[in-house]
Symmetry: C2
Subunit: 424 residues, 2 copies
């Protein structure tokens, strides 16, 4: 199994930092090219990320639904994408020889759903429907672990408005929400103009995390006036259209993509609402994607050091690791009891962190060895019962990994420090 | 699209109560035979059900992971299931002509994962790994809505133990957990002996909800000494082997299935651990499934009345519906304000219910019409600002749907009543 997955890069060799770190830490396990098992810490991070997405999507009026993976060939032929998508589409036939594809996105299905709601009135618009589901894409070169896989999770939202003006407003609102989401995650991102590709429509932006391993090339104005995927430039454009400064180039990992679709899909499915004049009118659509599993890997790619994972604090699988003294040390008994007291008081004062804590009770190992593991795995905070735990009052060693600092704190100080830690 | 889905039963005609009620209430929308969009209230119920499952699985030491849908043909050929499953397996080829199936269950993948963990020690066992993911099965006759669909969600757990004795203990513990889960949901269930089918193994039980529409036939001792799927009886058996009473027959909907697998899969994948004697030894396995979307539909099937949905209270999409007075009624203004006060006080006293409440502000409709809708949709509680809301002190009408009773209560009485309502 592992051998087959090795067809990414040289056999068995990870091709980027996030893939290497995630494999080493046991966060993912390859099964087939571009297909991975997500192991328990990854599922925890993913569920937290989905919670953040739910909050943001619902803040902008999103309603969550869930669409099937099996999409009928008829529906995709009607939109033209059955032929257009070519070999990127996984295709199959059922026992009655009906054709299906495994949905990479769901414009066709969701538009057919809205078209089926007879009696939809302009008063019920906008509709903002989203899902967080597994998607499929038969990539020519699956690689970079979860950055470019063939099976992945995506948050996709589809919006239906009564006019182009309203749909443009929706577009701005969702883009704004995406910016807020990446800001909450503490990720450095740029929003760039982008091509509409196989999805279609007339306006499109990508949300990119600058990174050398990124597969997109971005042209950026150093003053921030202009940002585009280079695919959008005409050949000669080398300076900012606003201030004239020379554009700089950066590579980026695409983590979000927005499209203003107009009536491309609603006209095919006849997705109409009745207007204020009681006339049937085509809905103006937009679609908006965020790569869930890709954001996990891209975060690790851009935040981590060479040998230590760093998560966005908000979605780290666990916020806290507790390390009691080594077995047989002179602090062993008292230190373990005092550390347990920190945990108990913490669970009382900050109950949301109780389930986000791990006790590394492999006390046959030195503190140093366990601390190294904890740093490698990317717990935002590590609380150690070290040499000074037997002082009066006891002093705990707290590693704030994302700030790369160590603090020596009393029990109350530890709880005070951790009171600012958020879980979604 | 709807037409194609009509191939279940007569064209366009739902074939059982849950399917009819779920279609009428806009909970599901068919796309292809046996494939459904789950609309927002269904997603809410499903997410609550998954939360209950997470609680129960984690209480028994379960660790949540997530396995790919695309399962390589090689892996399935090795276990023998590639041929054995026949046309029930959705099969496809990727762009390099490698064969895959869409996983209906994941014994092969999870066993390969465990086999890849070199250095697994008996001290790390038992391992109890589970996921809640979309599964695929090309049913010969998809029908009954979410009761027998081709794409569905399943909670599947796979356990790895160091000895048969330990694995039998795990089996009992997981069965016990399943019983507790169905009890928490308030569902009448029976645990019956069952055949092992294409999964294999030596011991198996099904968890069945008795219902006429069920596709399994069960033989039950009226005293509760014996319960089996009739497939397990030898031809002549008509009485209880313990007390001799005549067995009664009932139909059932299978909502859970447990298998003691032994080494059927671990021997194929060489999933070993090192024993206390430091010898490699095959893990003893079990697997355990709960149909997530099937439980939603089966609950509605067995709890609902002819024209009104009843959910297990714990997982109802929303716990509460508030109905303010009709527009233009003499209670309109005061009643709406008083009802809002109930909501505000409730949100303060019982914050977990704040997001579980719906305000039916279609005040152009009579209270009676909206109450009928609320009953049809299955809110466990409906709070109405009716005629008596202008009394001093104000009296609210509270419909407890699952108990089929109406109560007339003060604001404090409403909050007192609702304080016992649980959300997972």
């Amino acid at each position: 199994v592992g051998g087959q997955a090795g067809s990414e890069g040289r056999p068995g060799e990870p091709t980027c930092r996030s893939q290497r770190l995630m494999l080493q830490a046991g966060l993912i396990h390859p099964t087939s090219p571009g297909c991975y098992c997500y192991l328990p810490p990854t599922v925890r991070a993913m569920e937290k990320l989905i919670k953040v997405m739910d909050q943001e999507m619902q803040a902008v009026g999103g309603q969550k639904l869930n669409l099937p993976s099996l999409c009928s060939a008829e529906l995709w032929r009607a939109s033209g994408r059955w032929d257009q998508m070519g070999p990127e589409l996984f295709r199959l036939q059922d026992r009655h020889n009906h054709g299906y594809c495994l949905g990479p996105t769901h414009e066709e299905l969701v538009t057919a759903l809205v078209a089926s709601q007879s009696g939809l009135s302009y008063r019920q618009l906008p509709l903002r429907l989203y899902q967080v589901t597994r998607k499929f894409r038969d990539e020519p070169k699956p690689r970079f672990g979860l950055l470019r896989s063939r099976e992945f999770y995506m948050k996709d939202m589809y919006t239906f408005d009564a006019s182009e003006q309203a749909a443009r407003r929706t577009y701005e609102q969702v883009c704004h929400t995406y910016c807020r989401l990446f800001t909450r995650l503490g990720l450095p991102f740029v929003k760039v103009r982008a091509a509409t590709g196989s999805i279609g429509g007339t306006t499109s932006h990508e949300f990119q995390l600058p990174a050398d391993v990124g597969e997109d090339r971005l042209a950026l104005c150093p003053q921030g006036h202009f940002a585009a995927n280079v695919e959008m430039l005409n050949g000669e454009q080398t300076s900012c259209p606003t201030c004239g400064e020379k554009l700089t180039e950066s590579k980026g990992i695409e983590v979000g993509h927005t499209f203003y679709l107009g009536t491309k899909y609603s006209s095919v499915a006849n997705a109409v609402f009745s207007s204020a004049q009681n006339k049937p009118q085509l809905a103006e659509m937009g679609c908006y994607g965020l790569g869930v599993t890709r954001i996990l890997a891209a975060s690790i790619e851009v935040l981590s050091t060479e040998d230590s994972i760093r998560w966005p604090s908000l979605i780290a699988p666990y916020q806290l690791c507790f390390i009691p003294p080594k077995r047989g040390s002179k602090e062993e008994e008292e230190g373990a009891a005092l550390l347990e007291q920190v945990y108990d008081d913490l669970a009382q004062a900050l109950p949301h962190l109780a389930g986000d804590s791990v006790l590394d009770d492999r006390s046959q190992l030195t503190i140093g060895k366990r601390l190294k593991d904890a740093k490698r795995l990317g717990y935002p905070y590590v609380v150690v019962a070290g040499k000074r735990v037997c002082e009066d009052p006891p002093v705990f060693e707290v590693w704030n990994q994302n700030a790369s600092e160590v603090l020596f704190l009393s029990k109350e100080g530890v709880i005070e420090l951790l009171s600012k830690v958020q879980v979604p």
